[in-house]
């Protein structure tokens, strides 16, 4: 199958320091990949390079076979590469319904319309209710985001991303900051993600990684040192070295 | 060549006067995060006090300057306690509304108390007249303003970067809650910073009075200039403000020499160009 998402020989240096050093990976529809790595491994830079917020020094990013290296962040979203944020970035004054509706309308190219209201657009409302219903947010759909719990905000973050109907979803620590009692819901939501969606999850929590991912990529010092099945990752000597070498600093990495 | 040199001198002198008057605003806006549109009003109060002391009471210039600084602080401290304290951390537009309100009040009161005429601060004989630079003459008080500007820049830089108070101030600015948890009394830090900013405003008002004469509308008339200078420099940055003042002083002076009828265009186009290149001000970019 043709890869839906590809990164080829991506390089970026700050000053003389190579923060992303010759990274290549490829994902097919339906892939569940976890990207892990000790602190300072260059995960954030990698995400920024992939999403188009940073320009690489060299290398290439492709979505569904199309090179998007010269395309800006907005263009990549429109081509199906959507991300969620590690710290929720939602609009405090708006309701979950408005969040999802905005994403749906934007996806359909209707977000610039000067008249009408999504509440009066049946097709939009159906999608909004369906999506929020799946994530258990339907009762809250008309409350302000600032009034709902953090765990629910994380779910909404996911809902917004899904409403964009991505081909590739980049999840940045989707369960970060959520109290233990609520993580179940999020994991359930992750498990329910569309089957043909390629998901790249950046995560510290190894339990989650093992439950979710079919494939694990380990980034250390800007380079991929491991790309394989979850069962093999802890056995790999290079991974052990990368983690144990900085174990004191990365206390919450398993 | 002579002309170029001459313009350079004018630019330096004008830039430094701008610096002396504006730097207090850079402190309130950058370090205390208050859009203080009443800055000009405090400068004006300083000018009035100095004028009253030197002209009507016949006090010595130096004494009048000190009186202006401390007098203005004495007037400003209750305003800080009663009004400014309420708007720390408030949305910027709220701060704009409050400080414009304060400015209107001060203008009204100044108009009532001092009348609408121009007030000057008589210079001591040492600062009167001109100094011959060989190729041209320059007013002595301008040299005085340049020296004051440099002294203020150095003093402020030292206070912020090198003293214990500066550390506390920067800590309070970065994270007030954290600073408070570490035992910094942020209220006092803010009050002192505010007093310093107001004192600088008053000082600038007096030193700059030869160029920007004191009258009730002073508070609004030059506010835009101060605001522009501070944000082009990058609020809160002493070197940024200094560079901005010199740069804008140079552009203004050169523009007014070469094409006075388009002087305003030059100045504001330059401002737009600078901000488009350095969207966070000259110093904002340098930091990263």
């Amino acid at each position: 199958m043709q890869p839906i998402f590809e990164v080829r020989n991506l390089k970026r240096a700050f000053g003389g320091l190579a923060v992303t050093n010759d990274v290549s990976l490829s994902m097919a529809p339906g892939d569940r990949v976890a990207l892990i790595g000790p602190n300072g491994a260059g995960k954030t830079t990698f995400v920024n390079l992939v999403t188009g917020n940073l320009r690489p020094d060299s290398g290439e990013v492709r979505i569904a076979g199309e090179p998007v290296t010269g395309v800006d962040a907005i263009g990549r979203v429109r081509r199906g590469l959507v991300r969620s944020f590690q710290v929720t970035r939602l609009f405090a004054d708006m309701t979950p319904a408005e969040h999802v509706a905005l994403a749906v309308l934007q996806r359909d190219g209707r977000a610039g319309r000067l008249f009408g209201n999504f509440l009066g657009m049946p097709d939009v409302m159906v999608e909004v209710q369906e999506l929020l219903g799946k994530l258990g947010l339907k009762e809250l759909m008309h409350r302000k985001v600032s009034e709902i719990a953090y765990g629910q905000q994380r779910l909404l973050e996911l809902a917004v991303a899904l409403a964009l109907k991505p081909k590739v979803l980049l999840l940045d620590e989707p369960a970060a900051g959520v109290p233990q009692s609520d993580t179940g819901r999020i994991e359930q939501a992750l498990a329910d993600l569309p089957a043909d969606l390629a998901v790249l999850m950046i995560e510290h929590d190894m339990d989650l990684v093992f439950r979710f991912a079919k494939r694990v990529i380990v980034l250390a010092a800007g380079a991929i040192i491991f790309d394989g099945s979850p069962s093999d990752v802890t056995k790999d000597p290079r991974v052990r070295e990368a983690y144990l070498g900085s174990y004191a600093n990365a206390s919450h990495a398993a | 060549m002579q002309t170029v040199l001459s313009i350079a001198i004018d630019a330096l002198a004008y830039g430094m006067v701008l610096f002396v008057i504006s730097i207090g605003l850079s402190v309130t806006m950058g370090l205390m995060r208050v859009v203080n549109l009443a800055h000009g009003a405090f400068a004006m109060i300083g000018g009035y006090i100095a004028s009253y002391a030197a002209r009507d009471l016949g006090l010595a210039y130096g004494f009048a300057v000190l009186l202006a600084i401390f007098g203005t602080i004495v007037i400003a401290v209750p305003i800080e306690r009663l009004l400014y304290r309420r708007i720390y951390g408030a949305p910027e537009l709220t701060q704009v509304l409050m400080t414009i309100g304060i400015t209107f009040c001060i203008i009204g009161i100044a108009n009532y108390v001092f009348g609408p005429t121009l007030k000057t601060v008589p210079l001591p004989s040492e600062l009167q007249g001109s100094v011959d630079l060989g190729f041209r003459a320059i007013a002595t008080h301008r040299i005085f303003a340049i020296v004051c500007g440099l002294a203020v820049a150095a003093g402020l830089w030292y206070a912020i970067e090198k003293t214990a108070f500066g550390v506390k101030l920067r800590a309070s600015v970065d994270n007030a809650a954290m600073a408070a948890a570490l035992g910094v009394r942020t209220e006092i830090v803010y009050a002192v910073s505010f007093a310093v900013a107001v004192g600088l405003a008053a000082f600038g008002g007096v030193v700059g009075a030869e160029l920007l004469p004191v009258e009730p509308y002073y508070a609004l008339r030059y506010m835009v200039t101060f605001l522009v200078v501070v944000s082009v420099g990058g609020a809160g940055s002493i070197p940024g403000a200094l560079v901005a003042c010199l740069l804008l002083g140079a552009i203004d002076t050169t523009g007014r020499y070469l094409m006075p009828e388009f002087g305003e265009f030059f100045f504001y186009l330059a401002v737009i160009a600078i901000i488009c290149v350095f969207p966070r001000g000259l110093a904002g970019r340098a930091k990263g």
């Binding site: - | 009204g108 005429t117 301008r142 006075p260």
Partner: protein, 390 residues
């Protein structure tokens, strides 16, 4: 309300005969903001006139209603004028410091049946906008033209003109140029500088580089004149022998204490000096000084207002208190009297004031204060600006 009913009954009873009433005059001017000083002078002139001539014309009481337009704002001026006419029922409009404000009001006059007496606004064209406009101040052309002759007579043949870049500044430049070139002089360069100029050193450098023997300058009264005059001295132009000519806006009396020594010797032409030596002016200055509180704040708009009141009083006399704008204006055409500034006439054709223009020099009085000392008189000057319009 009660009084209105009474008045109505009285009017019916006396059917047309004159009866005691209150005649209202609406005065629009800058009473707050950056030009508050000029507005204050309007009020001082009006108060002085009423103090000296009583607040009654015939049996009618005169009431002044002030409205504030802090800075040129034609929309506001027009709204206030409308309110004065329609709501307050004023029979006369007066004041107006800024030209656009006056311009905005002129279209109302005929319909409102109200004359407009301009006490300051100095652009020539205003009087042409309505036949009901009378002006008792001056025009920039009027005060700037004689100085050209003064400059030529002083033996200066090359002059650089430096004016603030707005309507009156451009008027002054044109007036001077016309007058100076007619007298055989040459304007080597004409610089227009932004109104909001704080630092005049670069301008001074320009003047120096131009090689002119004299400079003609126009700046509006107020803060910037101080910087200009000081820069002229500090940059060594004054000591370098460059002569300084200007219309009198530059050295208005209320600015002189601030200008101080730097202004000493500057020659200006203007229609009025507070120091003018005449019994009429003595009485005026005393009354106006009392009205304004601080006599040092007295300046030229006060005399425009004073004479404006004179014209309005004459209009009321002529109409017997009836509201008849055309008749009122007709009555003062050609009116001559001795104003505190000297002999003046309302030109019947243009309805603008014909007056003496004086050459003055800033001098130091015995008590250490500075004043404009009149040294030469150009008699009966009309407004050359109107001719230039045609």
């Amino acid at each position: 309300m009660k009084r209105m009913i009474l008045a109505a009954i009285a009017a019916l009873a006396m059917s047309g005969a004159a009866y005691a009433d209150t005649i209202k005059i609406g005065v629009v001017g800058p009473f707050s903001g950056p030009f508050a000083l000029q507005g204050k002078n309007f009020k001082a002139g009006i108060d002085a006139y009423m103090a000296l001539n009583g607040s009654k014309v015939g049996d009618d009481d005169i009431e002044i209603i002030y409205r504030d337009v802090p800075q040129a704002d034609p929309a506001q001026a027009k709204a206030l004028a409308q309110e004065l006419v329609v709501k307050e029922g004023v029979q006369y409009l007066a004041g107006f410091y800024f030209t656009p404000d006056a311009m905005a009001v002129t279209p109302l006059l005929t319909q409102a049946n109200v004359p407009l007496v301009i006490m300051n606004a100095a652009t020539s064209a205003i009087v042409t906008k309505s036949p009901l406009v009378v002006r008792t101040s001056f025009t920039t052309w009027q005060t700037s033209t004689p100085i050209a002759k003064v400059a030529k007579d002083a033996g200066v043949s090359k002059v650089i003109s430096v004016v603030s870049d707005y309507g009156p500044g451009v008027d002054a430049e044109n007036a001077f140029k016309a007058g100076f070139e007619a007298a055989g002089g040459q304007v080597v360069e004409a610089i227009r500088m932004p109104l909001a100029t704080n630092d005049f050193s670069p301008i001074m450098q320009r003047i120096k580089d131009s090689g002119a023997e004299g400079v003609f300058a126009f700046l509006p009264s107020g803060p910037t004149t101080l910087g200009f005059v000081k820069a002229f001295k500090e940059n060594g132009l004054k000591d370098g022998g460059i002569k300084f000519f200007a219309p009198g806006d530059l050295t208005q009396e209320s600015d002189l204490p601030a200008l101080g020594e730097a202004a000493l010797g500057i020659q200006t032409t203007f229609h009025y000096a507070v120091s003018h030596d005449s019994p009429e002016n003595k009485a005026f200055v005393e009354a106006a000084g009392k009205a304004i509180g601080n006599p040092a704040e007295l300046s030229f708009p006060s005399v425009g207002a004073y004479d404006g009141m004179h014209v309005i009083y004459k209009m009321i006399e002529a109409t017997g208190g009836e509201q008849d704008a055309a008749k009122a204006v007709e009555a003062v055409k050609g009116l001559s009297w001795t104003s505190p500034r000297g002999p003046v006439t309302i030109d019947p054709e243009s309805r603008h004031i014909t007056q003496n223009i004086y050459l003055r020099e800033v001098a130091k009085a015995d008590d250490g204060t500075y004043y404009n000392k009149e040294i030469q008189t150009f008699e009966k000057q009309g407004d050359p600006g109107l001719a230039a319009l045609k």
